[in-house]
Amino acid sequence: MSNPQKKRNFQIEAFKHKVVVDPKYADKTWKILEHAIHEIYNHNASGLSFEELYRNAYNMVLHKFGEKLYSGLVTTMTAHLKEISKSIEDAQGGLFLEELNRKWNDHNKALQMIRDILMYMDRTFIQSTRKTPVHELGLILWRDNVIYSSKIRGRLLDTLLELVLRERTGEVINRGLMRNIIKMLMDLGSSVYQEEFEQPFLEVSAEFYKGESQKFIECCDCGEYLKKAERRLNEEMERVTQYLDAKSEAKITNVVEKEMIANHMLALVHMENSGLVNMLLDDKYEDLGRMYNLFRRVTNGLSTVRDVMTSHIRDIGKQLVTDPERLKDPVEFVQRLLDEKDKYDKIISSAFNNDKTFQNALNSSFEYFINLNARSPEFISLFVDDKLRKGLKGVSEEDVEVILDKVMMLFRYLQEKDVFEKYYKQHLAKRLLSGKTVSDDAERSLIVKLKTECGYQFTSKLEGMFTDMKTSQDTMQGFYTSHPELGEGPTLTVQVLTTGSWPTQPSVTCNLPAEMSALCEKFRSYYLGTHTGRRLSWQTNMGTADIKATFGKGQKHELNVSTYQMCVLMLFNNSDRLSYKEIEQATEIPTSDLKRCLQSLACVKGKNVLRKEPMSKDIGEDDAFFVNDKFASKFYKVKIGTVVAQKESEPEKQETRQRVEEDRKPQIEAAIVRIMKSRRVLDHNNIITEVTKQLQSRFLANPTEIKKRIESLIERDFLERDNVDRKLYRYLA
């Protein structure tokens, strides 16, 4: 007896306990076993004694009759299987599979019993002679005698494939039977399954889906087609889980993907009236999501979708930014851009699984078309201006943040960020000086965002403007405390602006009314008294004034006007009629400003506090002006519109452009010097690349401009050309 744990295994020599006397012993014993096998196949096993059969087989093996036992088994089983095969062949039509399945179950059961009885042979004889073990032998014999039988082999395949086809066309089939038969093929070995079923199954499926997809593509729109394809795909996957080998899933889905999607990819995406572009236009999230999920399965599927989407967005965007109609209203223009961005963000998040590559495609598309229009920076700044002036009234803080974040997103797309800065500075200055900004918090929040985006340098001047405003308030308080006698008469509010931080124009100071200039003088001496070494100059073009006016019938109004307008109106305190020339002489306001200011005083309906002769839309040099005694307004306070923060006129645009170009020169030069200082020697092309890269966060440097700057630096002895290679530059310390 062996003790499994203590390795007390003694090896026993074959024990020759009984010398066989009876020469017919082997035949007799085999007869008993053969009979038992017959009985087992005939479902008659209940009378048999396992112990007796086992003992007989045991003794046969012990007495060296293993070979006889084994070959006897093969012969007997083969004979039985031939019989079985015959009965399966005879099965009519639909009963064929059922008969096959029943016989297979019988055989399996019998095989197991036989193996149990012959277990001793399995353990010893078969091991030492390296024959096929009983169970495996039974499967092989079944395969060769039943499955490979010429009358069964083809019929089995045809039956299986037909059942699949019937299920594909909507019929209900006996899936359990199907599952058993397929399992039988797999039990016989995966190669049997593959050869006898899987391979032909895949071929037939490919043919089937090729035909079906052709039919669908001709009669369905894209969305419908995708729905059908998705359903087919799911059906096939379900089929696999229901009755096929799990390893077949990848293969069959591959077939469906190839036939239904990959082969028709372009036709689907570009399908007229229902393709990808239409889905995008109509926000068909469900269809788009389906397309994404199906196309993701095939190579180049997603890139096809992405490319079409990109070119579509670029087209739409290009139309948007180049349409002259749209350019009329900058706020509307930017709003449209934001709407478009929202639309695609939503599509990507709800249909495209937030795919990073799609987001990148969207971003690059926006970057592409926003920069197609040189006025985009200006318009975005105008949009912010509009929002911060009035648009944000009554909007909660979170919503303000949302809007500002969206603006920042557009800002990121800009290549010419310095142009935006220029405009933003102008617009911010006007907002601050006219006290028009709605929310200080919002203003500051945007500055912080710009700072995180572009660094301290970008916003230092903008922040300087805020500081000036604050300091000016304190200064004014100090001024009035030190001049308590000024309580009566006009009030002066001065904002002291640091030169350089503000977008000041070298303006010609106009002549202020006597009352005001006296006050200004007082302030000047107060300010210079407290701050030595400074210079004050008046920017009368940027100020505003509130004046009280009494009109013909005694109606009183408070007029909110610009400093220029105030100067003009004050003249009418002393005379009823003034000619253009007189006004110009008295105020010395620059011509274009004066004309604009008179126009807003005399020609705007409802705000025409002045009357002009002759009546016309434009201001002529020979016009004469009167106080409009019939002026009426239902409001006590009347704001006379000055032309503020509107889209720039063409010459102004040119001017800004020129200033921007001018500002870029030192930046380009600084970048060149920085690069050359570290590299010492570099060739032309590399300098251009490096400079462009360094300046990317602010603007897109023009190569010709860079070249000009390099030449200028050579002239000033910062760089020199290499004597041998003229394309090489050297840094001169």
Binding site: M1, P4, F10, F50, Y54, R55, M113, D116
Partner: protein, 98 residues
């Protein structure tokens, strides 16, 4: 008479050993006899006759079954075998695949 959970082993001399089925199934051969899908006489009756195993040996075998179960559950003790039984016991072990 067949009872669940127990099995009757009969020796060559006709002695009957009634033991737990669980214990008897320590022998792979007996396990097959009792669990084979076909309805063999042994499965039906719940008893197995061993015409080639003597009572002494069968008794020792039954003792071994119980010892083996204990051993498997972690109780390490010696299983004593009388020298004169060794040979026959070996043969029976080979037969019973124990």
């Amino acid at each position: 008479m067949k009872k669940e959970g127990i099995v009757k082993l009969i020796s060559a001399e006709g002695f009957e050993f009634v033991i737990d089925k669980k214990a008897a199934m320590v022998s792979q051969t007996i396990r097959n006899m009792l669990t084979s899908p076909g309805s063999f006489a042994e499965t039906e009756l719940g008893e197995v006759t061993f015409p080639e195993i003597s009572t002494t040996i069968l008794e020792k075998i039954c003792q071994y079954f119980y010892w083996s179960m204990q051993y498997a559950s972690g109780k390490e003790t010696e299983f004593h075998i009388e020298p004169e039984l060794t040979l026959e016991l070996m043969m029976a072990a080979n037969y019973l695949h124990t």
